[in-house]
């Protein structure tokens, strides 16, 4: 009789819902309290936070809206305002929100965003400047742009880093000072980064439990736990959350309790691409019965601060902040396919990976050269891969039949390789 695998959900992750709900509720209420509000595409939201502004973060909001199953509704509002089906769905969540508020189109109360006083477009991908263009042109929002080039070669990094620092200092900070009517609060920025460093250090300890066989938690559990170290950066509740999480993982490890029952995973996979925020349940329900768990991924590993690089007491805190993206681990370099291969190799080794799902979004081409990465990873590392094309939040782009047939072939290949 075939083994019946089932999910063994962590208790700690149940605490996340109320935390993120409060975060977004506070943002919704900000305007009524007279607070300035910003929207941010890209990682620069930390700077408005330091100024006491409330700020949304694009991908964080997409995760929240998708997780609350409200994305289709907002995308529909965007398309009623002229957006097209092939447009980036994250983009449409924002134009859709704006259009809905402006035109009075009913949207679920818990995902409504306040209209911003400022939009910050950090141009990691060109699409992120398109958010700014749309909001400026269609809705008359003031926009600040920071160009964040992704290095093609490691040796290009210093000149790019210098360029990004300069834009923070010469463009964004003066604008924030003008909007808020006060000097930039470097002390608050240092405080936020101090809290962030502490939370991330504990998070890194939690990651170690994914290296364990069987693993005591999955990438999906981490996906649910991302908010405190990203868009809730600086909130001490994040430290408490990760302390609880670590304690639960330690307990599981001491009692040999795995992430999936009855006795742990059969295959450990890497997930390369955005997390499918609105469809996490669909994927996990297809993976777990086959004994497959997502263990790590380029997205969460590359996109989030490496705590060892955070120095809240640095002489120049802006330089330290930008260095977290371009220095040391060089998060940005891992976005370029050449750097991606380096990180994929590292993750395969560290997390004992059996296969890779390359999750490609039909409306977002930010995960560059996925088919090539898959072919190279197979040839170079002997790890099978599969391409799934869908979307992070738009349900029209997700075909369960396609997912089923591709996953079946993928699992059979991992199985065959394991038997060799």
């Amino acid at each position: 009789m075939a083994k019946e695998y089932r999910q063994n959900r962590l208790e700690t992750t149940r605490n996340m819902g109320p935390l993120v709900d409060k975060h977004w509720a506070d943002l919704r209420a900000a305007k009524e309290k007279g607070q300035k509000v910003a929207w941010s595409a890209g990682p620069a939201f930390l700077l408005p936070y330091a100024m006491g502004m409330k700020c949304h973060f694009m991908a964080g909001y997409a995760a929240y809206c998708g997780g609350r199953k409200a994305a289709d509704q907002v995308i529909e509002a965007a398309e009623s305002g002229g957006d097209l089906i092939d447009t980036c769905s994250y983009h449409k969540l924002h134009t859709g929100m704006f259009y809905a508020v402006k035109e009075g189109i009913p949207i679920r109360e818990d995902v409504i965003l306040p209209i911003p006083d400022l939009m910050i477009s950090a141009r990691l991908c060109p699409e992120q400047s398109h958010y700014g263009e749309s909001l400026a042109q269609r809705f008359n929002v003031r926009v600040a742009g920071i160009d964040f080039p992704i290095p093609r070669k490691k040796e290009d990094t210093p000149k790019i880093e210098k360029f990004v620092v300069k834009q923070h200092k010469e463009v964004l900070i003066p604008l924030l000072e003008e909007i808020c009517g006060k000097p930039f609060d470097y002390d608050e920025m240092r405080r936020i980064l101090k809290v962030e460093k502490e939370a991330c250090l504990i998070r890194n300890e939690c990651w170690e439990f994914m290296k364990r066989k069987p693993a005591t938690w999955t990438l999906w559990d981490y996906g649910v736990s991302i908010a405190p170290i990203f868009y809730m950066m600086g909130n001490p509740a994040g430290i408490e959350y990760y302390k609880k999480l670590k304690a639960e993982l330690e307990e599981r490890a001491s009692k040999n309790i795995p992430a999936i029952l009855p006795d742990g995973e059969r295959f450990r996979i890497m997930w390369d691409g955005w997390l499918p925020w609105a469809f996490l349940g669909i994927f996990i329900r297809k993976l777990i019965p086959n004994g497959v768990i997502p263990i790590c991924g380029r997205y969460p590993w590359e996109f989030f601060p490496h705590p060892e690089m955070i120095d809240p007491d640095a002489d120049d805190i802006i330089e330290n902040w930008v260095h977290q993206w371009y220095g040391g681990q060089n998060i940005m370099w891992h976005d370029f396919p050449g750097g991606a291969l380096e990180l994929i190799e590292e993750l395969i080794e560290d997390y004992s990976i059996d296969g890779i799902i390359f999750f490609t979004s039909k409306t977002c081409r930010a995960w560059l050269a996925h088919p090539d990465l898959m072919h190279i990873a197979e040839r170079k590392f002997g790890i099978p891969g599969v391409l799934i094309d869908a979307d992070m939040v738009d349900s029209r782009m997700v075909s369960e039949a396609q997912i089923d047939s591709r996953l079946q072939a993928f699992i059979e290949r991992m199985d065959a390789m394991k038997r060799r």
């Binding site: 141009r123 398109h130 160009d147 790019i160 010469e170």
Partner: protein, 382 residues
């Protein structure tokens, strides 16, 4: 006249033969630059032939193993050509950060181009945003790096004088293309849209000196050409940001009683819209041109100006009756800007329709229906 036009059609339809023959005859290097903002003048000043990379006519085959079908026509077609050894005459390929789909091409070419060209370049041309000094400074550094790479590739130093001379040659070609558009604007029905596209596309493929000479011969003859009957619906085409559109589609527009009096397309007026200043530092001049805000470019992070307002100006200048957006399927910059353009034209009461242009066209019937409805709408309002 017909002979020159036929030559332009031949070049535009089969750039592969044209460019490889030129290379064989002239024994010079050829560098493919990806549309739309890589300054060809720098390649020219280094003694090589710059050609603007293009979308082929054939359906994509093995390219789909590297670029998903939900990417735009030019990225898929170009990849397919490079893998099928159709671009083996290229000594260099240059890319930059125009859109996400283009960014991935550098890596795909490094690993798969058959054969891999001697040089594959990638530059970080920045967004223009609010044109702050940091952006301009970074852009100038990138242009200097580009210049150095071209010098190294061909072993010829690019001096300020040689670069200025190339800028002059390019400016002259732009001027003559602007004259062509002026003629079209003032002489209803003398030049077909398909002809204009072939002429501009040829300029992207031929040495500019040769193209200018051909145009100097062609223009006086075109002036004498008999104009078609007036009274047609005058339209402006916009979009198709970095690639040609099918000639059949342009013919269909005209067959339905519309006349293209001007356009706002890359293989069109956008290609020759901006000269670079020949006085002063030439790199600075090329950077200044990149930083210009007209025509509004949806790939550069422009939010000070609305693309729709630019189009309204073009409509007024030409006394046009409507605008047709040719939106290349899966083109994010155009997709993201489309609602703003649509709204702006609607506010101004300018009739507008949008056609999604696929790389592999299976039937023009749905397009015909849409365009017929558009003409009826305009006729109803006239």
């Amino acid at each position: 006249m017909e002979e020159i036009l036929s030559k332009f059609f031949e070049i535009s339809k089969d750039p592969y033969t044209q460019v490889s023959k030129w290379k064989e005859k002239n024994e010079k290097k050829v560098v493919g630059v990806y549309p739309m903002w890589i300054p060809e003048e720098i390649v020219h000043a280094s003694g090589m032939l710059p050609v603007v990379l293009w979308r082929g006519d054939e359906p994509v085959t093995i390219g789909h193993a590297h670029v998903p079908p939900f990417n735009c026509g030019i990225t898929r077609s170009f990849t397919d050509d490079a893998l099928r050894e159709k671009l083996k005459f290229l000594d260099g390929m240059i890319f930059y950060r125009m859109c996400l789909q283009e960014i991935s091409l550098e890596f795909i070419m490094e690993h798969n181009a058959q054969p891999k060209p001697e040089y594959i370049g990638y530059f970080y041309f920045p967004a223009v945003f609010d044109r702050n000094p940091a952006l301009k400074e970074f852009l100038i550094d990138e242009l200097q790096d580009f210049k150095r790479d071209m010098e190294n590739l061909n072993g010829i130093e690019i001096t300020n004088e040689s670069l200025k001379k190339s800028i002059q040659i390019y400016n002259k070609n732009k001027e003559i293309l602007r004259n062509l558009y002026e003629l079209r604007r003032n002489s209803s029905g003398k030049i077909k849209a398909k002809e204009v596209q072939a002429i501009v596309h040829s300029s992207m493929l031929l040495p500019k000196e040769d193209h200018t000479r051909m145009m100097e011969e062609l223009l006086p003859q075109l002036e004498k050409r008999k104009a078609a009957t007036n009274g047609k619906i005058k339209v402006i085409l916009t979009g198709a940001l970095c690639q040609t559109v099918q000639g059949d589609l342009l013919d269909l527009i005209e067959d339905l009683g519309m006349e293209v009096v001007d356009d706002d397309m890359y293989v069109g007026s956008r290609y020759f819209a901006l000269d670079a200043n020949v006085n002063g530092d030439p790199i600075q001049a090329l950077a200044d041109r990149y930083m210009e805000d007209e025509p509004v470019c949806p790939t550069k992070g422009e939010w000070a100006k609305n693309w729709g307002e630019h189009l309204i100006d073009v409509v007024k200048q030409n006394k046009a009756d409507g605008v047709i957006s040719l939106l290349i399927k899966f083109c994010p910059p155009h997709l993201c800007w489309y609602p703003a353009v649509r709204e702006k034209l609607a506010e101004e009461g300018i009739p507008h329709t949008m056609i999604e242009v696929e790389h592999e066209v299976t039937s023009l019937d749905p397009v015909r229906t849409r365009l017929e409805a558009f003409t009826e709408m305009i006729k109803g309002g006239i």
